[in-house]
């Protein structure tokens, strides 16, 4: 139990030391069972490696209590001193950013909050199911917040308005030909399981 398999160690080393040029190295969202809901790597990894990384980080994060700090160090725990895991846990989802020392820790915590609040606004009471079924839209929102590993925008209103403008553009393109498809998808959605909405975004004091 105590010693990790060497392969895992090797993955970790690669993952923590081999990267460069990214201030935010990866953004992961997974649920309480470690199922990925969103993964965005700002550095190339093979798909297997990505899955392994997700599993690894999930193991690290999930065994932490609720009332502990939101930073996990690459430092002594994992191996790379310049990188940190910064995460927040909302209801069923973990939002996790892997960042280097050029980012302010508290700043990133707030950024996660901004991202989640934006999701909440765009999906109207966001829940895990929204993320599951609308991965593309979540990516679009994320792209307005972080670009190529750098913080692009921190103002929620600005983000929301850009996302909405793009959605509008898509709707205009689809025009009337999209109507039947929408109808079909509405029918398909009828027997979706009822899952409590809202991942409780509020009651967090921003640091910035």
């Amino acid at each position: 139990m105590s010693t990790e398999p060497e392969a895992v160690q090797a993955v970790r080393n690669l993952w923590w030391c081999g990267l460069s040029g990214r201030m935010i190295k990866a953004i992961l969202v997974f649920n309480n069972h470690g199922k990925p809901r969103l993964s965005r790597f700002y550095q190339h990894f093979s798909e297997d490696m990505q899955q392994q990384i997700i599993r690894e980080t999930f193991q690290l994060v999930s065994r932490r209590d609720e009332n502990v700090c939101n930073f996990l160090e690459g430092g002594s725990l994992i191996g790379g001193s310049d990188y940190k895991l910064i995460y927040r846990h909302y209801a069923t989802l973990y939002f996790l950013f892997c960042v280097d020392s050029s980012e302010s820790e508290l700043g990133i915590l707030d950024l996660i909050q901004v991202f989640v609040e934006t999701l909440d606004k765009c999906f109207e009471n966001v829940c895990e199911l929204d993320l599951i079924f609308h991965m593309d839209k979540v990516h679009c929102i994320l792209q307005e917040v972080v670009m190529g590993g750098m913080v692009l925008e921190t103002n929620m209103n600005e983000i929301v308005s850009q996302v909405e403008a793009q959605t509008k553009l898509e709707k205009a393109e689809a025009g009337f030909s999209a109507a039947p498809a929408r109808a079909v998808s509405a029918v398909k959605n009828i027997n979706l399981p009822e899952i409590p909405r809202n991942i409780k975004v509020s009651n967090l004091s921003p640091f910035v």
Binding site: T3, S104, L106, G148, A181
Partner: protein, 1222 residues
């Protein structure tokens, strides 16, 4: 038409969309893989259809599958198809999938260039935005190069949305295509003051990230950032800027002083925790850089520590964590102010949060002193007991060892205590750090002589109780300590109380379950132990006991002979044979102990960790050369074809097995050897040490083997604590007594003189602690900075001076229909004229062609003479330069980034005094070897400006000529790295080419930095006749290796016409470009200058033959080199070596260096007394390193270069210069 669309979409709506896929996967929890592979088949079908909407639908499903862990790179081409759709909806899907799965290795990525360019320039801002976002994820060097110009244009887009993205992506472009940094930087800088705060923030983001990696190039931006910091209200921007300042202050302490005040104000005023935290962090960085005792800063430190304490005490775990993190930074320079918060930090050790505990542990590391070490370690030991997870416990263990062993056991006063702590740590189950404990045991026992007796007794105890330690032997990392225990008991066996018992413990049958390398040590040390026991018995005359002990070994050793581990086997059988032989001798009553002891005599000394690296490479030893010729690979295939079928099988099987065995064997042997080397890091010294003899040997063989209760040794620490306490008490009393007797008692020097408090000093170590220093090889190289920068650092390429003005060739590649590669040599040949026409370009030229200008001034007197001549355009470049420069200097606002010095100095500066101070500064700056060349250049050019100004004002009074010389020689010598104020004689790099009564030609050859195969020959033509020289035609006979670049269309026998005419007594310079293939050999080219001399009496055709000598020196380019990079280079072992020696040298060393720098284009890397290392690089990238040593009247130059021919030739040339100069 519309119907068709509707019909198509109705067909489509029964395709699976993303939602259906997700739903399907959720409904097939049991056979997910099967379901997904089904879906992938469907997707493959969909991708084959022409309808782009179907394709896009397939691609978005693929993007989802990618997230779940499926490789989708096979669809890369389809993704590109979707990317190129004209509809935003699909384009976005395409780019999303691309950003998920494309990377530099994706081969189809090169197909995207034009599509991306089209999207970037799309009228729809969201098309552009999506392309930028996508590109930011998969930009490659090729894409960066091809699109840099388009992106740069986008930085000035009307929409802030696009500007913002374009600015951010520039950082990625810089990383992939560093050449774009300088051209794009001015615009990026502009964006710092963009009206849109998002764009501004993006620009700050990018520049901060650039500056973080190479801060020195961005120092000049400090004033601008300072302005932003005091004006901005965006906390994100503030945080970034403040972080940046943290990186800049170590380079410029004056900046720190300026920052302290606004930062402390921010700390007091801000309510945003993140900002507060970053401010504190930066203040800490500032204070660290200012640490040279500024009394009034203790207030700031206090403020920081105070604020941090508030953070640590906060109930929010995040703040607590960050507070501890920042605290550890203060600790490094101001340990005292942190130490007063020890209570708080110890409290954090009990926190339930592991991250926080680890941080607190880090802090403890720096807080120990001689006084509190035992107490802190005791506390940590309690935590070790309580700790749950093995990870945390292991962390604690390493921390305890770190804390105790730090700076050469500085804080340990009682090594008995330390040994017992180590012994207690062995109790830890399942730790991975057994080897760490073992290493500590070995280190202490070897290096602290006084502790050996105690250590041996403890180790003997460990060996006796080995079965308790290593419950399940193989898995357990802790059994590593047995390795140390066995070795210590064997090596220092003279200290053993009960050697027989220990010997038997070593030979127990259980030992065979230990890992091989430990058993090997057991066997070897059993032999050592045996030798010393034997000696005891023989000296006591107890023959029976001696025979018995021999018999024990003969009985027990065979169990090791059958061991699976080769090392163990080998040692055991060797020793067994030896013992059997001894047994025979004993039977004949021959005393053998002396000889057996002789096997193990000699003391083992610790070797410094870097010792191996520092062994200098002997002359003429080439470690890279093959000892035998490399085996050819193709031989076996040929053989195969010749064999008959019948034979082939046999042959093959033999052939295949043979090498396999060999390889296995080799690998194993190598492993064993490695193991051996790792296990025995001690070299045996030749001088034998006197052996200690034990007289007492009665009845050894009758001692029963008693198991000692384990609880006894493990409870030692407490007892030691008490003992230690008493001892200290005693010491204190003694000291007081002494004080009474002797008021002034000077304390002796302690082992270490680092930061420990007065009270620390009072605690004297319990033993006479003589830590044996580690051995270094003789004549080790003195370089100490082994941990240099990583040569593969991707940011190194971005280490670019941004203050230098752009040159013409630094342009981003723009897409053109035809690329005209060849520059007309006409332009090359006459750049001088070209530039002197445009005064606006003057400033640029002035810096860029410094070298040239210098040379011009060498010949300055001649230029000036032509001043009166109105026909000559070239006549007065100096006069034009001077006013422009002056104007430029005046136009600069004092707050502008370019004049950092001015901004940083508070008092208004008189030009004269500043020149003076600059001069001093320069001298001191250059003494720091690490100073970069760029900075030097910047400074010296600044220096020059000032000089020029000064000069200007005095111009009327003094004669120009003289002034100019002194003005320009000084900075030049500085640039070449000389130190003293000693005035250097003027040097000219121009050599005589040919001379006749009409014309004199002098020339200089310079390598072309941009092109590795080009050299530029500058020839100064001086008219020595009374006539007018015209139609000058310069021609050389090309060799295979070296060719003159002629205008297009001319044959290789045509000459180049010199682009000017020369009136009497006038000189001018023309440049000719040559292409050189190989640069390792010097070359001579014959040539002819033909010209017409026009006098009053008429004109005549004349010619002058010359020989152009391309020395190897002329291919060298002065390149600065950091000392760490330099030593890396030397260590790399890729360089060939050669040396010369020149006798009877009488010039000063400094002048000598200056000469080498000037004539041979070297730069000084490091100078120590009369020894200097120098560096240069050839235009083709050969590294050239010199070590110049001055002895009595002789100079020796050792050179190392990647090419030995080049090196040889260069050294010959160097010798020539040196001989000439004396």
């Amino acid at each position: 038409m519309a119907l068709k669309i509707v019909k198509g979409s109705i067909d489509r709506m029964f395709d699976k969309n993303l939602q259906d896929l997700v739903r399907g996967i959720r409904n097939h929890k049991d056979d997910e893989a099967k379901y997904i592979s089904q879906c992938i088949d469907e997707i493959k079908q969909e991708l084959k259809q022409d309808n782009i909407a179907v394709k896009a639908n397939a691609v978005i499903k693929l993007a989802y599958l990618q997230m779940v862990g499926y490789d989708i790179s096979w669809a890369a081409f389809n993704i590109i198809e979707v990317m190129s759709s004209s509809k935003f909806t699909f384009k976005r899907i395409g780019y999303l999938a691309a950003s998920q799965c494309f990377y530099e290795g994706t081969d189809v990525i090169m197909l995207t260039t034009n599509q991306i360019r089209k999207d970037l320039n799309s009228p729809n801002q969201y098309d552009t935005g999506v392309a930028l976002t996508g590109l930011s994820c998969f930009v490659t060097p090729d894409l960066a190069r091809d699109l840099a110009n388009d992106i740069m244009t986008l930085m000035s887009h009307t929409k802030p949305y696009i500007r913002k993205k374009a600015v951010l992506i520039m950082y990625k472009v810089f990383l992939k295509y560093p050449e774009s940094l300088r051209p794009a930087f001015p615009r990026l800088k502009e964006k710092l003051e963009d009206p849109d705060s998002g764009v501004q923030s993006a620009a700050v983001n990018v520049i901060c990230e650039l500056a973080r990696r190479n801060p020195k190039n961005y120092l000049s931006l400090a004033p601008l950032f300072f302005k932003l910091m005091t004006s901005s209200t965006n906390n994100w921007v503030l945080i970034k800027i403040i972080k940046l300042f943290g990186a800049l202050t170590p380079l410029e302490p004056r900046l720190g002083k300026k920052l302290i005040e606004p930062l402390t104000n921010l700390i007091h005023s801000t309510s945003a925790m993140s900002l507060l935290y970053e401010c504190v962090n930066t203040v800490i960085a500032v204070l660290i850089s200012l640490s040279s005792g500024m009394p009034n800063h203790s207030a700031s430190i206090q403020l920081c520590v105070q604020k941090l304490r508030i953070l640590i005490e906060d109930s929010d775990q995040n703040l607590k964590y960050l507070g501890l993190l920042a605290m550890s930074k203060i600790l490094k320079t101001h340990p005292k102010s942190v130490q007063s918060h020890k209570d708080l930090i110890l409290q954090c050790l009990d926190d339930k949060d592991e991250s926080i505990r680890l941080r607190a542990l880090d802090l403890l590391y720096g807080m120990v002193s001689k006084k509190n070490l035992m107490e802190i370690v005791k506390k940590l030991m309690i935590h070790v007991d309580k700790a749950e997870g093995t990870t945390y416990r292991d962390e604690l263990l390493t921390k305890i060892i770190d804390i105790c062993s730090q700076s050469n056991y500085q804080y340990i006063t009682n090594f008995e205590w330390y040994i017992s702590i180590l012994v207690e740590l062995t109790r830890l189950e399942g730790t991975r750090h057994g080897h760490l404990i073992a290493a500590q045991m070995l280190d202490v026992a070897i290096r602290v002589k006084a502790i050996r007796a105690f250590a041996v007794s403890q180790m003997a105890m460990l060996l006796d109780n080995a079965h308790l330690l290593a419950g399940n032997m193989q898995r357990n990392g802790i059994c590593e300590v047995l390795y140390a225990a066995a070795w210590i008991c064997g090596e220092f066996s003279e200290h053993l109380q009960e050697p027989n018992q220990t010997l038997e413990a070593m030979l127990k049958s259980k030992v065979t379950t230990l890992p091989g390398h430990i058993q090997a040590v057991y066997v070897q040390n059993a032999a050592k132990l045996y030798a010393s026991i034997l000696q005891q018995h023989e000296q006591a005359g107890d023959k029976k006991a001696a025979v018995e002990i021999t018999q024990i070994l003969i009985d027990k050793l065979p169990q090791f002979v059958q061991n699976a581990d080769l090392e163990v086997q080998e040692r055991a059988s060797c020793i067994l044979q030896l013992i059997k032989y001894i047994h025979k001798l004993q039977a004949k009553d021959i005393p053998v102990a002396e000889e057996v002891m002789a096997l193990f005599t000699g003391e083992l000394n610790p070797v410094a960790p870097k010792a191996q690296k520092k062994v200098p490479l002997p002359d003429g030893l080439d470690l890279d050369a093959w000892i035998n010729d490399a085996p050819s690979e193709s031989s076996s295939d040929d053989e195969n074809t010749k064999k008959t079928i019948f034979h082939e099988e046999e042959q093959r099987s033999i052939r295949h097995r043979q090498p396999e065995m060999d390889e296995d064997e080799l690998a194993r042997r190598r492993e064993v050897r490695k193991q051996e080397q790792a296990n025995n890091p001690f070299y045996i010294k030749s001088s034998p040490s006197p052996q200690k003899n034990y007289q007492d040997a009665s009845g050894v063989d009758h001692i029963p083997v008693v198991q000692i209760d384990l609880t006894v040794p493990l409870r030692v620490p407490d007892q030691y604590l008490k003992l230690e306490e008493e001892r200290r008490q005693q010491q204190r009393q003694d000291r007081e007594k002494k004080k009474k007797k002797q008021k002034r008692d000077k304390k002796g020097k302690r082992r270490h003189d680092s930061l420990h408090t007065e009270s620390d000093e009072d605690i004297a170590p319990v033993h006479q602690v003589d830590i044996i220093t580690e051995e270094m090889p003789e004549n080790a190289l003195p370089s100490d900075d082994d941990d240099g920068k990583d040569p593969n650092d991707p940011y190194k390429a971005l280490d670019i001076d941004l203050d230098k003005p752009l040159t013409d060739n630094e342009k981003l590649p723009v897409r053109m229909h035809r690329i005209s590669e060849k520059k007309s040599p006409e332009i090359e040949a006459a750049p001088v004229e070209e530039k002197s026409k445009k005064p606006s370009k003057k400033a640029k030229k002035e810096k860029k062609d410094k070298e040239k200008r210098k040379s011009k001034e060498k010949g300055g007197k001649k230029h000036r003479k032509s001043y009166e001549n109105p026909e000559n355009e070239f006549a007065a470049p100096e006069e034009i330069i001077a006013p422009t420069l002056k104007g430029e200097a005046e136009n600069e606002k004092p707050t502008e980034g370019s004049d950092l010095d001015f901004w940083l100095s508070k008092a208004p500066v008189q030009s004269k005094s500043q020149t003076e101070s600059l001069k001093n500064e320069e001298a001191s700056v250059i003494e720091e070897i690490s100073e970069t060349k760029e900075e030097e250049e910047a400074k010296s050019s600044k220096h020059k400006k000032k000089k020029h100004k000064k000069e200007k004002s005095k111009e009327e009074k003094k004669s120009q000529k003289k002034k100019r010389h002194s003005a320009d020689d000084a900075p030049e010598s500085v640039q070449n790295g000389s130190i003293d104020d000693e005035l250097l004689p003027p040097m000219s790099s121009y050599f005589l080419l040919a001379e006749s009564s009409f014309v004199k030609m002098t020339y200089d050859i310079q390598g072309n930095l941009q092109d590795g195969s080009q050299v530029v020959v500058s020839v100064i033509f001086e008219n020595q006749s009374s006539g007018y020289l015209k139609s000058m035609d310069f021609n050389v006979l090309d060799s295979l290796n070296t060719k003159l670049i002629r205008p297009e269309g001319s044959s290789k026998h045509d000459g180049i016409s010199v682009p000017f005419q020369l009136p009497p007594d006038v000189s001018n310079e023309a440049r000719f470009v040559f292409i050189v293939e190989s640069i390792v050999m010097p070359q001579k080219l014959k040539g002819t200058l033909t010209f017409i001399v026009k006098t009053d009496d008429g004109s005549s055709h004349e010619k002058l033959d010359f020989k152009l000598h391309f020395t190897c020196t002329s291919y060298m380019i002065t390149t600065p080199c950091y000392s760490d990079a330099f030593s890396k280079l030397l260590e790399s072992g890729e360089l060939k070596m050669s040396a010369i020696k020149v006798d009877r040298i009488s010039i000063s060393f400094q002048l000598l260096l200056a000469k080498i720098c000037f004539h041979h284009h070297f730069s000084v890397v490091e100078r120590i007394n009369s020894c200097a290392s120098m560096y240069s690089r050839s235009i083709q990238g050969h590294h050239m390193c010199l070590l110049v040593k001055m002895g009595d009247n002789s100079i020796s130059v050792d050179g190392k270069c990647s090419d030995s021919t080049l090196l040889g030739n260069l050294l010959d040339e160097l010798k020539q210069t040196l001989t000439e100069s004396c």
